[in-house]
């Protein structure tokens, strides 16, 4: 009977080594799979057999396939990914915002504004001259065009962010659905008590990708193996096999542009989480859309509004070549903060150079006092409670953006380094080293060959016993 036992030991050993080799092969095949955790087959000695007073060992069995994985480290990586996602997104968007303020061409805001002032200076030396008057009208138009363009560009950025948010929400939903699916499958597979390693790896990777996008909290129910995921601390995204959806709702912001708000919807409730998102790419996007760009818009609105008002005041009390007065230079819509996008050269004056009012009294063709008053606005500190000129105000805006962008870029760089350190740690715990696997292959193959030898020996022993009868 014990020869049978011996044979079994050999056979089981061959099977065990095969499993080990298969595991090694699995590691090698997945050496470059993202989020893969190295697996190894752990074997334990079988219970010994009692024979007389001896306890004889009975071979080995593989009791589990272990996954080299550090949950705590994964949690840390996810946390830092949330932060990196936010910084990176913010950095990219700020780069787009700052390019709006790059005074690269003559038509850009500051250039067009100083061109306008100087055209008034030019016409002051010869107000009767129709060509110079026409030039003034053109340069005023240039200024309103630059203002309109700036409003447009800022709005476009907000629109772009909106569509990005839409796409990102879809991504969140597909991740959530997959996690729910995995929850179900992992539950089913782990009934037999063994961990579903590859499925867990996949679920961990999904969680990591999700944390890049939004701040998440997750908790595993160890009895069922199901992972529940909440976002922004309050809204449940995945519970067991069910996934809720992150939906987009249209709303309108204070300035009238459309914004997308984020709402978590389940079968019975919906929760608007837009203001609760603190980390991840979504936080970066929302920060720029809802806080940075509106701030910029406000400052520009206020600058242009004040300047246009002052110039209109002066123009309205001045006289044109026909002796008429009370005309505005600029038309704009002042409700709902729409000055920047609506400002234009007044229809009363457009294409009618003689109606440009430059004089302080009627019928004095060379009277340029109105024009001189306009040019004096360039260095007049009438903004910010009489402390800033228009140049100062614009300059401080540009420098703020430059500083914020620079800061965002350096935060991103720093955080990338932090995350890369953590990734290195993770790799050293869970990564596959081809050299290691190569050695393992050799190890198990030799053991396999030796096990085969055991079977051969058992077989020879049996032969010997059988041959005892004949001789």
């Amino acid at each position: 009977m014990s020869i049978n036992r011996l044979m079994n030991t050999g056979i089981r050993s061959m099977q065990n080594n095969q499993v080990a080799i298969r595991t090694s092969g699995h590691n090698i095949a997945n050496a470059n799979t993202e989020g893969y955790s190295r697996q190894d087959a752990s074997s334990v000695a079988q219970k010994p057999i009692q024979q007389g007073s001896l306890l004889i060992g009975d071979g080995a069995e593989i009791n589990r396939i272990r996954r080299s994985h550090d949950d705590f480290l994964s949690g840390q990586i996810n946390k830092e990914s949330e932060t990196l996602g936010m910084y990176k997104e913010r950095s990219a968007l700020l780069g787009a915002v700052e390019s709006i303020f790059n005074e690269a061409s003559e038509d850009a805001f500051s250039n067009s504004m100083s061109k306008m002032f100087n055209s008034f200076r030019e016409v002051s030396s010869n107000p009767e001259n129709s060509a110079l008057r026409t030039t003034v009208l053109e340069s005023v138009k240039g200024f309103t065009t630059a203002s309109n363009k700036m409003a447009n560009d800022l709005n476009k950025i907000q629109e772009n962010i909106n569509s990005k948010i839409g796409a990102t929400a879809s991504e969140v939903n597909s991740i959530a659905k997959e996690i729910a699916n995995l929850n179900e499958n992992i539950g089913k597979m782990e009934i037999h008590g063994n961990p579903a390693n590859d499925l867990r790896d996949r679920r961990d990777l999904l969680l990591k990708n999700l944390s890049k996008i939004v701040d998440i909290q997750s908790a595993e129910d160890t009895s069922t193996g199901m992972l529940s995921v909440t976002i922004c601390g309050s809204a449940s995204l995945v519970t067991g096999r069910k996934a809720n959806t992150l939906a987009i709702e249209r709303a309108s912001s204070e300035s009238g542009t459309a914004v997308f708000n984020l709402v978590v919807k389940s079968a019975s409730s919906s929760m608007d989480i837009t203001k609760n998102i603190k980390k991840g790419e979504l936080a970066g996007m929302l920060n720029v859309r809802d806080s940075l760009v509106p701030e910029l818009k406000d400052k520009m609105e206020s600058l242009v509004h004040s300047l246009a008002n002052k110039m209109n005041e002066i123009h309205s009390k001045s006289f044109d070549l026909l002796g008429e007065t009370s005309r505005k230079l600029f038309d704009f819509v002042s409700e709902k903060k729409n000055v920047l996008s609506s400002i234009s050269l007044s229809k009363d004056v457009a294409d009618q150079p003689r109606k440009l009012a430059l004089a302080s009294r009627p019928f004095e063709p060379a009277n340029n006092e109105g024009s001189l008053e306009i040019t004096s606005l360039q260095n007049n500190r009438f903004l910010a409670e009489n402390t800033e000129t228009v140049g100062d105000a614009f300059g401080s805006l540009v420098s703020t953006i430059g500083i914020k962008t620079r800061e965002a870029n350096s935060l991103t760089k720093h955080q990338t380094a932090v995350l890369s350190q953590l990734d290195t740690f993770r790799d050293s715990i869970s990564g596959v080293s081809l050299d290691e696997e190569a050695i393992d292959l050799v190890k198990y193959q030799k053991a396999f060959e030796a096990s085969a030898r055991v079977i051969k020996v058992a077989d020879e022993l049996l032969e010997t016993i059988l041959n005892l009868k004949r001789t």
């Binding site: 300059g395 430059g402 990564g431 080293s433």
Partner: protein, 301 residues
């Protein structure tokens, strides 16, 4: 620490990427020849640049204005020189026809004719145009300020030009001040009206009244003083402009060099940085190559 293949791959990728990023920035700097290509490159420098650009435009405009003003003043001065000559001629005639022995009723009548010409010349100076603007009409530059009777239809507007930030200079003198001697502020008659003087002299010549002619001499002297005063004013203004212009031209040059200091890249420095980074990158790539190659698999048979 356990080192896996992924460790090697991802750290190599990251380091090489960092170096390439740096190279890209240097390339941008070298091709634009500017150190500042966007506000985040140097926020403080960017704001200074904005100011300098505005300044540059303003200064060049002031320069143009100063030139225009100069030409206008020169023109006015030339006209005043002509007027002075006319007055001298009138004075000569007045002296000769009132006190000289060779003068008599018929010579006086003949000179009266010459006087008409001098009158017309005076009128043409008074209605002098620069381009298509009448320069002695105050703000009224579109119609001739004086009619043939010597009546003034202009005003006493003072045309100011901005020759530097918030610095204004009047460039004209109203005809009423020059030809009537009227003060600019309250229109009171302080001086002589040249048209009146010529008319009186003409009457005197025609009526053979030497006493009247003699009074004209004194009046002509007074008028000449007026003209000299006007020319002095013009001269002072021209000098002021000259002073400002020098300052402006110097500022323009300073501006340009300040701009360049802030904005332009130090080409030599950037080029040598580029070379350095290229070398570092190539060394990195070499090492990476050697690190990634060998694996146990190559040696197991």
């Amino acid at each position: 620490m356990r080192v896996t293949n992924n460790n090697l791959y991802s750290s190599s990728q990251q380091q090489i990427n960092e170096k390439r990023e740096k190279l890209m920035d240097l390339q941008t700097e070298l091709s634009t020849q500017k150190r500042i290509n966007k506000p985040s490159d140097d926020p403080v420098g960017t704001v200074k640049l904005l100011d300098l650009r505005v300044n540059d435009k303003n200064l060049n405009q002031f320069k143009d204005t100063a030139d225009t003003a100069n030409i206008f003043l020169n023109y006015s001065d030339t006209a005043m020189a002509e007027l002075s000559d006319i007055v001298l001629s009138l004075k000569d005639l007045a002296i000769s026809q009132s006190s000289s022995a060779s003068a008599n009723e018929s010579t006086r009548k003949a000179i009266a004719g010459e006087l008409e010409q001098l009158y017309n010349q005076t009128l043409s100076v008074a209605n002098r145009k620069f381009g298509n603007r009448y320069i002695f009409g105050g703000y009224n530059t579109v119609k001739p300020p004086f009619d043939s009777y010597g009546n003034y239809f202009g005003d006493n507007g003072s045309i100011r030009l901005e020759i530097n930030e918030n610095n204004y200079l009047p460039i004209n003198i109203p005809g009423s001040k020059i030809f009537y001697g009227m003060g600019e502020i309250n229109g009171e008659i302080k001086g002589e009206n040249i048209f009146d003087v010529i008319k009186v002299m003409h009457d005197g010549l025609m009526t053979n009244d030497t006493k009247i002619i003699q009074t004209c001499i004194e009046r002509l002297d007074k008028f000449q003083e007026q003209v000299i005063e006007v020319r002095a004013t013009i001269g002072a203004r021209a000098k002021t402009i000259e002073g400002y212009k020098d300052g402006i031209e110097k500022s323009i040059v300073d501006n340009v060099s300040l701009k360049s200091e802030i904005e332009d890249s130090d080409i030599v420095k950037a080029a040598s940085e580029l070379k350095k980074e290229e070398n570092i990158l190539s060394a990195s790539l070499n090492v990476t190559n050697r690190l990634l190659q060998p694996s146990l698999m190559d040696f197991l048979r």
